[in-house]
Symmetry: C2
């Protein structure tokens, strides 16, 4: 169920994510405007995190807006609707790789090739919930991000 590292039909992956985004927006009664859609498409180009300014550069090249708020507003929208996630450790954003399921994902981030995978969160969240309960803490949103090496980069013997 981990999505991201394994080879797959990424064109289908993208199409599904985009179709899902349409559905989500229709059902929520919000608009998937040109800029929002384009930002999602850019993020969907591969399973990699992009900084807001990298996205902004792309938008600028395409004449869709040149100022930071343009990118940040679209990203906020996508994150708010579960279509993208923010990677705290990188100050960057990644398209959601699990169209459909409501989730608080955990991220595996390759420090060599920068690929980002979403892994099944349930066991980790259960352990976290238990630790939080012991402390009397009410978890609102959990962020779990692991730095390391993806299968491909381990094979290549990368050290950094």
């Amino acid at each position: 169920m981990t999505a991201g590292f394994d080879p797959h039909d990424h064109a289908a992956c993208r199409r599904a994510a985009l179709a899902h985004a349409e559905t989500v927006c229709r059902e929520a009664g919000v608009r998937l405007t040109d800029t929002r859609r384009r930002v999602l498409e850019i993020l969907l180009e591969d399973h990699r995190a992009l900084g807001a300014y990298a996205i902004l550069d792309r938008l600028r090249d395409e004449g869709l807006g040149a100022q930071p708020p343009v990118a940040y507003r679209a990203l906020d929208f996508l994150v708010r609707h579960g279509l993208a996630h923010r990677i705290e450790h990188l100050n960057a954003f990644v398209a959601c790789a699990h169209p459909g399921r409501g989730h608080a994902p955990i991220f595996l981030i390759c420090r060599s090739c920068a690929a980002v995978a979403e892994a099944p969160a349930a066991p980790v969240m259960a352990a976290l919930g238990s630790a939080a309960q012991d402390a009397g803490f009410a978890v609102d949103h959990a962020m779990v991000e692991a730095d390391g090496l993806c299968p491909a980069c381990q094979g290549a013997g990368q050290g950094a």
Copy 2:
């Protein structure tokens, strides 16, 4: 074993952390200089995360340095030696609340009063390791941060 939310003798807590810092530095053959020590003391004032610039303001008031690198270098040092931790979600730093034990802690962050607790990491890390293994991913360093409400702020019925 969660350290941070429960009422405790914080003066002793601080003293122990400082003493531990001395030991760690002596054993590692590195120097706990004035600035480094002072930054640690500031972080130890309570179990709360402080931004690098908030710390820098304090240092400036005390004549210990006025430029960002002063604060960042001290913080890097403390983090490198396990005496403080960086909270990615807040772009801020907190003193380590577990003097002595080698750990990759998990953090519980109150979004109302900004208190930060360190909870036992083992079960969460085990679950994370298992998920990573399923994906063939080699975890190097894991970041686990939970946003929510601490016991005190839940009682007060805080919503934000």
